[in-house]
């Protein structure tokens, strides 16, 4: 009797363990993008302004924007003595339509170290998004050892419009010491029942460069990871949804083609078609995409194959198949105007923010009709 029990015990235990794990072994629901309803929300006179965000540090880079529940615009970026320095922190500020508040650090290296229980040597790219409850989600990269290719992603949430933030949680996205998954571009909200979730564009840098797509649940837990086919040598996919199932991603090209690459999905990001180069030049620099309320797609990019001293906007009226001529917003030889981010507020105002000379973040707010020729 005892011998029979000893023999069968491992099998019985295995079945119990399998039952415990079963819910987590099943594939997730079909993915659908949440498409914002915009009817009747466009203001007659969207605000217009151009200003620097008064970065308090010598260096600033990689801005991200989100609209808060009360209609204010929030920005985050990383700033310190120089990129990669130990004093770099994530800074946060809000815009009330007229003025940016003085920026304040919301994430420090020491705090992330304590929160995640890991040595942290430097912080980088933040990404903001606001969920349907009005909570602000912040994703940012950190590095323990090595360069940016050794990055991993952290996630934190604010339930009080950015005044306080939850402890950072490390996201596990890679099996090899969790190295080399980075974020830079904003996520798309997913519409899976009432719980929601996120599709978060990401990329891999160590050993090979690839664009990726993370599916997260409403709490930020990773539920799937997709490598975009034929995305070798690309980084920082910028993604916009065309409808609940279709989206396009446009990617930074690290060379040698130096053309923005484009990929599409028609099943909510679960699978992507092979990326292909567009005719748009790219000097190995991040791009930003926005699907405006009128359905046109706005692209912010450096319209050149080398240097980042020009920054431009282009519009596509046919879901990214063709693009209008670039409208320059910056053109200064030897300058750096890079890492743009785009947002359209509920009142219709388009917001553009980008790294300005590596010293500050510049913000422009304008009405969509300002993009028409001659304006």
């Amino acid at each position: 009797m005892k011998r029979a029990m000893q023999h069968w015990l491992p099998l019985v235990a295995f079945i119990l363990a399998l039952l415990t794990a079963w819910p987590r072994l099943l594939p997730g629901d079909a993915m659908r993008f949440k498409i914002a309803s915009v009817a009747g929300t466009v203001a007659a006179q969207p605000s217009q302004s151009t200003q620097l965000l008064n970065n308090p540090q010598p260096s600033a880079h990689a801005a991200t924007l989100t609209e808060l529940a009360d209609g204010r615009i929030a920005a985050a970026w990383f700033a310190g003595s120089e990129e990669g320095a130990r004093d770099v922190a994530i800074y946060f500020s809000t815009f009330d339509g007229a003025r940016w508040q003085p920026p304040a650090p919301i994430v420090s290296r020491a705090q992330v170290q304590s929160d995640t229980g890991r040595l942290v040597r430097k912080l980088g790219n933040p990404v903001l998004a606001t969920d349907w409850q009005g909570h602000i989600h912040l994703w940012f990269v950190s590095v323990g050892y090595g360069g940016w290719a050794g990055s991993s992603i952290n996630h934190s949430v604010s339930a009080d419009a950015g005044r306080t933030w939850s402890p950072a949680v490390k996201m596990i996205t890679s099996p090899f010491w969790n190295v080399s998954t980075l974020v830079r571009t904003p996520p798309l909200a997913l519409d899976n029942g009432h719980s929601g979730g996120w599709g978060l564009p990401a990329y891999h840098e160590f050993a090979a460069k690839r664009s990726e797509w993370l599916q997260l649940d409403a709490h930020g837990n990773v539920r799937d990871k997709v490598r975009i086919p034929a995305s070798q040598q690309t980084l920082q996919p910028a993604v916009v949804a065309l409808d609940p199932r279709r989206a396009i991603a446009m990617m930074r090209d690290t060379g040698p083609a130096n053309r923005i690459r484009l990929a599409t999905t028609s099943n909510g990001g679960r699978n992507w078609d092979a990326a292909h180069p567009t005719s748009l030049p790219n000097p190995n620099a991040s791009v930003a995409l926005l699907r405006m309320q009128d359905g046109r797609i706005l692209l912010a990019y450096n319209p050149q194959t080398a240097n980042r001293d020009k920054l431009a906007l282009s519009i596509s009226g046919d879901e990214g198949a063709n693009w209008g001529p670039p409208k320059l917003v910056e053109d200064s030889a030897g300058g750096e105007f890079s890492y743009p981010v785009l947002l359209q507020a509920r009142d219709g105002t388009v917001h553009l923010a980008y790294t300005w000379q590596r010293r500050d973040i510049k913000h422009m707010a304008f009405a969509p009709n300002a993009l028409e020729a001659g304006k």
């Binding site: 039952l19 415990t20 229980g117 890991r118 040595l119 890679s174 099996p175 090899f176 010491w177």
Partner: protein, 182 residues
């Protein structure tokens, strides 16, 4: 506030340290060895003025070991080392190397994705483990059982089953066993 998953991650680094110290101190009397092992494991958890511990530095380097690795380390420290055998070690080394090369970006296929909806993976692993159990070797079924239970309870930060099954350190150990044993 440190989460339970972070605490487990730090303790798993202490387990690695304990195993290493135990290996070095094998010739010491058992009671002294136990003190040295526990003292050493405790030391790496100590935070210094800068808020850092050796466990945090180790964790930043190689992440958390898999549940399989933790089980094998614990068995070894407890004086009941699991005999994995050369053939399984060779298989794990080959699978692991191919897996990591692909996961690090060689080609469009990323095998890591399989671990997010891992039902088919579990069917294959369970079949292999049950076959060895039927032949009188329950070790692999026990290892997989604990891995699955841990995954079901979500005790690690990862939501990917692969991270519970093996890790680069285990693959490296398997490679060493595969090369050394003749």
């Amino acid at each position: 506030m440190t989460s339970a998953q972070t605490t487990l991650g730090l303790l798993s680094q202490a387990l690695i340290a304990a195993w290493l110290i135990n290996r070095v101190a094998l010739r010491l009397p058992l009671c002294i060895r136990a003190v040295v092992v526990m003292g050493g494991a405790g030391f790496i958890l100590l935070q210094f003025d800068n808020g850092l511990s050796a466990a945090m530095a180790m964790r930043a380097l190689w992440g958390d070991p898999s549940i399989t690795t933790m089980q094998l380390l614990a068995l070894s420290i407890a004086g009941r080392p699991a005999s994995i055998g050369r053939t399984p070690a060779i298989a794990l080394a080959i699978i692991g190397i191919v897996f990591y090369v692909l996961a690090l970006g060689l080609g469009d296929f990323d095998p890591y994705r399989i671990g997010f909806a891992a039902g088919p993976l579990v069917v294959v692993l369970a079949g292999a483990a049950a076959a060895t159990w039927w032949r009188g070797q329950p070790l692999y079924l026990w290892l997989l059982t604990v891995d699955l239970a841990a995954f079901g309870l979500g005790i690690m930060e990862s939501n990917n089953l692969w991270d519970y099954l093996f890790d680069p350190l285990l693959v490296l150990a398997a490679l060493v066993v595969a090369i050394r044993r003749r």
